[in-house]
Symmetry: C2
Subunit: 428 residues, 2 copies
């Protein structure tokens, strides 16, 4: 019965959602595939990790987002193989899927750059599960130190963040607030002043892509609030006891948090293509896969180039605009029109450093720091959170935290180690 | 330095919190022990299981609840031994703890009554982790059936609830709303009408402790909304494929949800005492342990008797009033006054059957059903939820759901099967 060409979309991140929405009125049927049944608003993962927000406030069920889109369907599953010649995908769930057009937007995962011990001992912050595990872990350290204060000497209250990009800076700022304002009240008998947050950054400044003025502001605010920022410093080894740094310094810690780098999901292997740096795929100017005009690659997986021929940053805006672009090119192809090259419009960058402090940079040189930057950050993040309900809930949560310095979400909620619930009807 | 007698409280449920609060101005130091760092508002677990509320809306960090209580401290850990003669408790964490007074309020766990297969195959609903696992499980069934509709014949969309008490009735009502209103829209290609909810109750009526009029109302509403209620029916076996009932009927299902009974936590063993029915402990009229006037037993663990000499129900109100009573008796003992017997005041019972339908019964024969009962249920549950923030958040969540038939929380958020995060500094 179905005569509309099928567009298969891999990945329910910013790029995948943007493409699926843009195809709303196109004469196609859309099938979005993801290994989770929800979209994660990754820029706020650090808020879940620091007990400021709940998972459902930064994640939304994919089927809910597309309730009213008639040509949309969703499949829960992970891609295990891609046959470009036969135009089929195989999945961990159910039958293989065929396509007329394919958009690959699987995003990225953590990159440990092969540093010994990082894969085994560091804590990552890339998924909602990561964020919840990190939250449990941080609070469990305080409970453990409260029972046995000698653990503090063993580094139980030392938190080492590797990587001074936006995620590292935001995490450091949120963590020092959680500890200094909330956990200090929770543990009146614990010498919470002994807790340390060490932020390690390899380059001579934080927030590399930002203007030097913003970089200096972020550094000054973090240091003033008590974060031990170490620039020009790198990690050479992680272990169960702590980290060894390039300068020779060793820090005892049970909490080495990795925000230093990502690599594209391993789709180059599935496609039988040699990837570029960080696992990214070279694409044509219209974002299609070389030799396969019916396949588009967007977001963190694509090494799309800017005007100067450098790869675009792996950020949400590039994925969103790439998703819109790929959707439009598919409409062009169906209508018999030629495709056009992708042009990225850079709307600016921002990062929050904590309460009343953020840096925000917009085109034509507009820059804001401090409270104004922070209010802009709040407003833009609220506006872009998926779904009205999420926005309202996050707004209330943030308002509450702002005035009370309280966090509702500091529950250690680990899955019980007991019998498994009955298996789902199929391996999902 | 510490000269105040120490009251050790085991369990951060309704009874433990009530006792700890009541001891606020008593000349004692209070140490509350629980295996979780949060209190769970158990009457609303079914709302978390049906994606209506988030964990942090029905749970609250214990340390947060007692921020302003100077004589309060908390210890995360599980009790592994009690030495009544030496007045010490041993725990899974840290050093043993000694007491001058002990209040045992550990609550109850599931009782499978030895029915074959229940322990292995049924899904329980007694902890926050249970509720999240059940939510994941229900939605995973729909995703699996959507990929492979043949699973429906194997019972993937059959949900069998065992036990027609308040929890079973509330769960059945919430589940049929989740499926009929939310999941029906989420899965437009799935024959959601084939989903079945079967509620199995051994006695001839639902909601045994309620008035017959309330019982009939609950039965009529559930049946009208599509729940297949089976009275005078029992379960004789559970398996991975489904259940076998006393009548000989077999129902294929991967979701057998157990709300049929509880038993007290196994503290009789720890105390070396022979327990009564359901693992409950006989207590003196003042709720102290026979032969140990310095030890009080409250809530689900205590077999306190009513005026007719029958054990009181294992419900929140009995635990709360028992907690207040035990705290007052400790104050009496310290002041050299005799203790007084516990007298339970029954404020009534209520259960919600779903949107616009509940039954509520109050003293002197006041009874309400339907929308008025439901509004009373809403109001009283909101008022008793711990913490202003939780109340506001739950109110908004419920208002949103009421007008939109939407649920924000339907994420399948299972812990990833990957490397464990670094261990907490001590086994907690």
């Amino acid at each position: 019965m179905e005569t509309r060409p099928r567009v298969v979309l891999v990945g329910a991140g910013f790029g995948g959602l943007a493409a699926a929405r843009k195809l709303r009125r196109a004469p196609v049927s859309v099938l979005l595939i993801d290994k989770n049944n929800f979209h994660t608003f990754q820029p706020l993962l650090y808020q879940v990790a620091t007990a400021g927000l709940e998972p459902s406030e930064i994640a939304h069920a994919v089927r809910g987002i597309f309730h009213s889109q008639k040509n949309f369907d969703f499949r829960l599953g992970e891609v295990t193989g891609i046959d470009l010649a036969a135009r089929t995908l195989s999945l961990t769930t159910g039958e293989p899927v065929s396509w007329e057009f394919l958009i690959l937007a699987p995003g990225a995962t953590n990159n440990d750059f092969g540093i010994p011990g990082v894969a085994e001992h560091a804590i990552f912050l890339k998924t909602l599960q990561d964020a919840l595990a990190l939250r449990n872990h941080v609070i469990a350290q305080f409970e453990a130190a409260n029972v046995d204060p000698s653990l503090i000497e063993q580094g139980a209250l030392n938190f080492v963040l590797i990587g001074g990009g936006a995620t590292g800076v935001e995490m450091a700022g949120a963590l020092i607030e959680l500890i200094g304002q909330v956990l200090r009240r929770d543990y009146p008998h614990l010498p919470v002043d002994l807790a340390k947050i060490i932020l390690v950054e390899r380059s001579p400044e934080l927030l590399t892509p930002f203007h030097p003025k913003s970089q200096r502001h972020a550094l000054a605010v973090l240091r003033e609030r008590g974060v031990d920022v170490r620039l020009n410093e790198s990690i050479v080894q992680a272990s169960a006891e702590g980290v060894k740094l390039g300068s020779g310094l060793e820090i005892r810690s049970r909490s080495v948090i990795w925000t230093a780098g990502i690599k594209a999901m391993p789709f180059a292997e599935l496609l039988g293509v040699t990837p570029g740096r960080g696992g990214r795929l070279a694409v044509e100017p219209d974002l299609s896969l070389p030799g396969h005009p019916e396949v588009f690659v967007i977001g963190d997986l694509a090494a799309a180039l800017d005007k100067e021929g450098k790869p675009l940053a792996q950020v949400a805006q590039v994925a969103i605009q790439g998703g819109h672009h790929a959707a439009r090119q598919i409409a062009n192809r169906i209508a018999g029109r030629p495709t056009v090259p992708f042009r990225y419009f850079d709307p600016g960058v921002m990062a929050t450093i904590g309460r009343n402090a953020a840096v925000a940079e917009f085109p034509i040189g507009l820059r804001f720091t401090g409270r104004i930057g922070w209010l802009m950050w709040l407003f833009l993040h609220l506006m872009t959170l998926v779904g009205f309900r999420n926005r309202l809930s996050v707004f209330l949560n943030w308002t509450w935290s702002y005035f009370t310095w309280d966090r509702s979400a500091r529950l250690i909620l680990e899955p019980e180690e007991k019998k498994e619930p009955p298996p789902a009807a199929a391996p999902v």
